[in-house]
């Protein structure tokens, strides 16, 4: 009896639509595009700032355009999704064992949120102070 294993074709472009968990993964991955684009906006802002008050004022005005506001809201949503999904898997990537027991995952996740809040508060203090 001869063997003739059959290989099922795999779609290279639509595979991620097969399962909700693949879509969630792609959403997390694509978040880098929005975070990258936002970083570009910040860099442009710094350049405009270095060019003087008029250029900076024009930049600030451009930020208030509806398309710009929509982009920032979208970028914020993706940044939050990126952050929370990564924070939520930290106990699996960095488990902490104390004696025989493992530190509860909620403590590790909570520590990340606390760190996030602390750094955000520090930046706001430095920027606003």
């Amino acid at each position: 009896m001869s063997r003739k294993p059959y290989r099922r074709p795999v779609s290279t472009s639509r595979w991620w639509l097969a399962q909700p968990r693949y879509i969630r993964y792609m959403a997390r991955e694509v978040s880098c595009v929005f975070i990258g684009a936002y970083t570009g906006v910040v860099v442009v802002g710094l350049l405009r700032l270095s060019e003087g008050a008029a250029a900076w004022g024009a930049f600030l005005e451009a930020l208030q355009a509806p398309a710009s506001v929509a982009f920032h809201l979208l970028a914020l949503a993706f940044a939050l999704y990126h952050t929370t999904t990564w924070f939520n898997v930290t106990p699996r990537a960095m488990p902490v064992q104390l004696g025989e027991a493992r530190l509860p995952g909620g403590v590790i996740i909570g520590a990340h949120y606390a760190g996030w809040a602390l750094v955000s508060a520090l930046i706001l203090f430095l920027a606003g102070g």
Binding site: M1, S2, R3, K4, P5, Y6, R7, R8, V10, T12, W15, W16, A18, Q19, R21, Y22, Y25, E29, V89, R92, A93, M94, P95, Q97, G99, E100, A101, R102
Partner: protein
């Protein structure tokens, strides 16, 4: 109360007569406490004796009855019909070549499992009369979770990386490598690194996490792979800062 009827659609493939697999539907009268494996057994016993599939223990221990059930990799002995609709699609585990009907070719997985040295590499060989290699409960708890793997390969069927790149060592083999790396009695980590810390090893994983979602024993291979990535990265920086350090 009338008996529930389930339409079991099974992907059939006979390498001697078929060019491609084809769906075949069987109407199965089922009982309340049945799992999908019971329905498949009914087909084999009562409707079509040519159906080929693997199973053994019927209690989620042997790991041989894994199939895709409505697109999700599951052990057919652990998938209760009461949790499923009246039309159930059963096909061989995804990402593996089909040998016949629901049986897949496991050769690639077996070779990968072997490649990570999934066994204890002791510091020194001890004669039996010298007794056991002792271990504390705390040392055991470091890796116990990863000993629960039953090699069912549901994780490979769920992994899109493995689907697109067959050279990927894959979730179960890497989780088992991690299990031995974490074992206080083992010194084989360096010997495993060529395979485990290679591009086809941990670095091929982009943490989709599907492997852990489908694992029937909550082994969490995705978590294991991220832990190896962190350990391997630490090694890299330690080597950079302290060249020639012994490991």
């Amino acid at each position: 109360m009338s008996e529930r009827q389930v339409d079991l659609e099974i992907l059939r493939y006979n390498p001697e007569t078929d060019e491609v697999p084809a769906w075949r539907t069987y109407r199965v009268p089922c009982q309340e406490d049945w799992v999908v494996l019971d329905a498949i057994n009914y087909v084999k016993d009562e409707l079509d004796r040519t159906l080929s599939y693997r199973w053994s223990c019927h209690m989620a221990v042997c790991g041989s009855c894994g199939v895709m059930i409505n697109g999700e990799p599951m052990l057919s002995c652990k998938a209760f019909l009461r949790d499923l609709p009246d039309r159930i699609r059963v096909e061989p585990l995804a990402n593996f070549p089909i040998e016949r009907d629901l049986i897949v070719v496991m050769d690639d997985f077996m070779a990968k499992l072997d490649s990570v040295k999934p066994y204890l590499v002791p510091r020194e060989e001890k004669p039996i009369e010298d007794g056991e290699h002792l271990q504390t409960p705390a040392q055991l708890n470091k890796f116990k979770q990863y000993t629960l793997c039953i090699n069912c390969t549901l994780c490979y069927a769920a992994c899109p990386q493995y689907a697109h790149n067959e050279s990927f060592v894959g979730p179960a083999a890497l989780a088992l490598a991690h299990r031995y790396n974490l074992d206080s009695r083992d010194v084989g980590r360096a010997a495993r690194e060529d395979v485990v810390a290679s591009n086809a090893g941990i670095w091929e994983c982009s943490f989709v996490g599907a492997c852990s979602d489908v694992c029937p024993h909550d082994v969490d291979p995705a978590g294991a792979i991220q832990q190896i990535k962190i350990a391997s990265t630490m090694d890299y920086f330690k080597d950079l800062l302290m060249p020639g350090r012994g490991r």
